[in-house]
């Protein structure tokens, strides 16, 4: 027993009060505390980064959800819109939007005169109105040919700079330097606001409208992009999750363990490292050039993103399958379950949290990815809504990340706000999409 005493002497003295920590225990507990603090720091770093990013996104983007409108009475002059006077729609369609612009100019000038607003040096008051206005007016007239000749009250979008003025993006000082707006126009806007002609309201158009060109940031919306992303995510979810899980089950549970399956395993991890744009190259070659699917279509986008997401899901699924203790498998096999039954009844449910995590991360990546869509034609300016499924999968569409990317590259500063607004929409979309997975994952989590 002498060596025990020796040990005690060399190591921690073992006799002693529980209430008093000996030196070594203190050190170990300090290490423990440090370890736990590292953990807290790690979580806080992640959460703080998230909060920082989110607040900056929200601060920049919340403005996109409201928009300034100007209400005007427009005289639908017959001599301009329907020279023949027989209200033939096809005839009237010959008048292009350029023909409608003067009506709007007249409307705002009339309004200024009627309100008795006088601003020295005011030029081109029509610049207050979005360029979208003519198109809206034309659509209205062509849909209601009988109202030509009447005076109609219309709510027009205000132009981007005027809208920016009320969101703090444009100031009198900046307008001085700005070639697209003058301080006088801002004063006019204030005057119109006082009369109630100008107001700022919630902007449904941001969520429902299609994209608009660079001339009209105020009219641009996410309608097409949301549909496109939705269609793509449906494809990805329907394909990537089952294929990914099936492939992992085969590789982890059934495949013989040999060089070939090692190769496959390495290969799949390697696929995860392939830059996403390369999947676009593949998609162009296979789905468009070889299989003849249409360009710019969500189905192709979905397929490409599926291929891109598969490795993520497979890696996560295999890791979780691996972590299920063999004793569970033995128990099932021992009562005469087949391997297939063992996997589907016992192993898979226990691996579910990891599978769902892989899916959440994979979908997050797929939802946010632009580069692979570049080569299959989805990084595009698309104004037509895709149809309802299933045909809609084959119609051209845009996607949320594409819209964000496009808007951040546009020159008009009004698009910065819209890009951030689109990011908010994307994140909400992501959370909604993942909500089920997150809830399911919590249900499946258990320790044994």
């Amino acid at each position: 027993m002498s060596d025990i005493t020796a040990n005690s002497a060399s190591g921690a003295p073992r006799k002693g009060s529980l209430l008093v920590q000996d030196g070594r225990t203190q050190r170990r507990n300090a290490a423990e505390r440090r370890f736990q603090i590292y953990g807290m720091i790690a979580v806080s770093v992640a959460v703080l980064a998230l909060i920082f990013l989110l607040t900056s996104i929200v601060r920049n983007g919340i403005g996109a959800f409201s928009q300034t409108f100007i209400t005007l009475d427009v005289v639908l002059a017959e001599d301009k819109l329907d020279k023949t006077g027989n209200r033939d729609r096809d005839e009237m369609a010959k008048v292009s939007t350029f023909g409608y612009a003067p009506l709007i100019t007249a409307a705002i000038e009339d309004r200024i005169a009627a309100e008795g607003i006088e601003i020295e040096g005011l030029s081109k008051p029509v610049d207050l109105i979005s360029k979208q206005a003519a198109a809206d007016l034309r659509d209205f007239v062509l849909a209601n040919t009988d109202r030509v000749g009447e005076t109609v009250e219309f709510q027009f979008l205000a132009s981007g700079r005027i809208d920016g003025y009320y969101k703090g993006r444009v100031t009198m000082a900046s307008a001085e330097l700005d070639s697209n707006v003058t301080p006088q126009q801002l004063m006019l806007a204030d005057a119109l606001k006082d009369t109630g002609a100008l107001e700022r309201t919630f902007n449904w158009g941001f969520i429902t409208s299609p994209d608009a060109s660079e001339n009209r940031p105020e009219a641009s919306g996410l309608g097409v992009a949301i549909l496109g992303s939705l269609y793509m995510m449906i494809v990805v979810l329907v394909l990537a999750l089952p294929i990914g899980v099936a492939a992992s089950i085969y590789l982890e549970e059934f495949a013989p363990k040999n060089r070939l399956t090692d190769l496959i395993e390495v290969n799949i991890s390697n696929l995860a490292a392939v830059p996403s744009i390369v999947f676009g190259i593949l998609g162009l070659a296979i789905f468009i050039n070889f299989a003849g699917l249409p360009q710019s279509a969500p189905i192709v986008g979905g397929l490409v993103l599926t291929l891109m997401t598969l490795p993520t899901i497979i890696i996560a699924t295999r890791a979780s399958l691996k972590s299920v203790p063999p004793s569970i498998r033995e128990a099932a096999l021992g009562v005469g379950a087949s391997k297939m039954q063992t996997v589907f009844h016992h192993v898979l449910p226990l691996a579910a949290p990891g599978i769902l995590t892989g899916t959440i991360i994979g979908l997050a990546q797929a939802l946010g990815e632009t580069a692979p869509l570049l080569l299959i034609g989805m990084v595009a300016f698309v104004r037509e809504y895709p149809g309802a499924p299933p045909e809609g999968f084959f119609d051209p569409a845009s996607a949320l990340p594409v819209q964000i990317y496009n808007w951040t590259t546009r020159s008009d500063p009004a698009f910065v706000e819209r890009a951030s607004g689109a990011i908010i929409v994307l994140l909400v979309f992501l959370l909604l999409m993942n909500l089920i997975a997150i809830i399911l994952r919590r249900r499946f989590e258990r320790r044994w």
Binding site: S327, E330, A331, L333, V335, G336, A337, K339
Partner: protein, 253 residues
């Protein structure tokens, strides 16, 4: 004399390079309880797991030799291990309940084998199995609670109940009473005796008394060899091999 149920000949098992079972041949009879005894680590579990091909699940394990069940080679490529395991049930040395409810633990086997036509029948099977496993009284009020929340001995009996719920023709039991008190042990032994009327039972045990009590045949393993196999009475009273004698009398471990 009973029919031969399982006939193993020249079985060798390797774990990687470790030679765990060395050229073992043994014939296990129907309607008989066969006890495997031997010092810890001698290969009892390993050999037992050969009999229903549970060693298939261990990557590094390699089995050679032939094992016939009712005259059919169970290692034949055509044999479906699933069917085999349905016939040859197993209670593992370490209790391994599913992380499911107690009810589902028992009902699982009958469900996948279609032993019950309806819920009532299934309930009946579950109750009967739990009763036979001598655990019904303890769990009857908590059938919906997880099997993993039971005490060690309860888990062991749960696993016994689970194994008999599928009505296997041969039941392999690896130290089924190791965590049981004398009464529970006696109940399980009674069960074994009852099972013997219809089936074969192979039991691994470290208790000579238990082997003597329940088994008709005994096999003594030592360092991977089957040293002696014969009538239990004979082995315990009149062992032929000196190692057997030493073991029984408690001189080698």
């Amino acid at each position: 004399m009973n029919d031969i149920k399982i006939s193993a000949s020249g079985v060798d098992v390797f774990y990687g390079d470790t030679h765990a079972i060395k050229n073992v041949s043994v014939e296990i009879e129907g309607n008989t309880v066969t006890a495997f005894i031997g010092p810890s680590g001698c290969g009892k579990s390993t050999f037992l797991r050969c009999l229903n091909r549970m060693n298939d699940t261990i990557d590094i394990a390699r089995v050679t030799g032939s094992i016939l069940l009712d005259g059919e080679d169970i290692y034949d490529a055509k044999v479906d291990p699933v069917q085999l395991r349905a016939k040859v049930g197993m209670v593992f040395q370490k209790p391994n309940p599913f992380p499911k409810s107690i009810y589902d633990n028992i009902a699982y086997g009958p469900r996948i084998h279609g032993l019950a036509r309806n819920k009532a029948e299934l309930d009946e099977i579950v109750e009967k199995s739990l009763r036979r496993g001598a655990i019904w009284e303890e769990v009857k009020d908590r059938l919906d609670q997880p099997g993993t929340g039971l005490s060690g001995g309860q888990q062991q009996r749960l696993c016994i109940a689970r194994a008999i719920a599928t009505e296997p023709e041969v039941l392999l039991m690896d130290e089924p009473c190791s965590a049981l008190d004398p009464i529970a042990t006696a109940q399980v032994e009674e069960l074994i005796d009852e099972l013997r009327q219809q089936y074969s039972v192979v039991i691994v045990t470290h208790s000579m008394q238990q082997a003597a009590r329940v088994s008709q045949k005994t096999a003594f393993f030592h360092l991977g060899d089957l040293v002696e196999y014969g009538e239990t009475g004979h082995i315990f009273t009149n062992p032929e091999d000196s190692r057997t004698e030493s073991y029984i009398t408690g001189r080698i471990g």
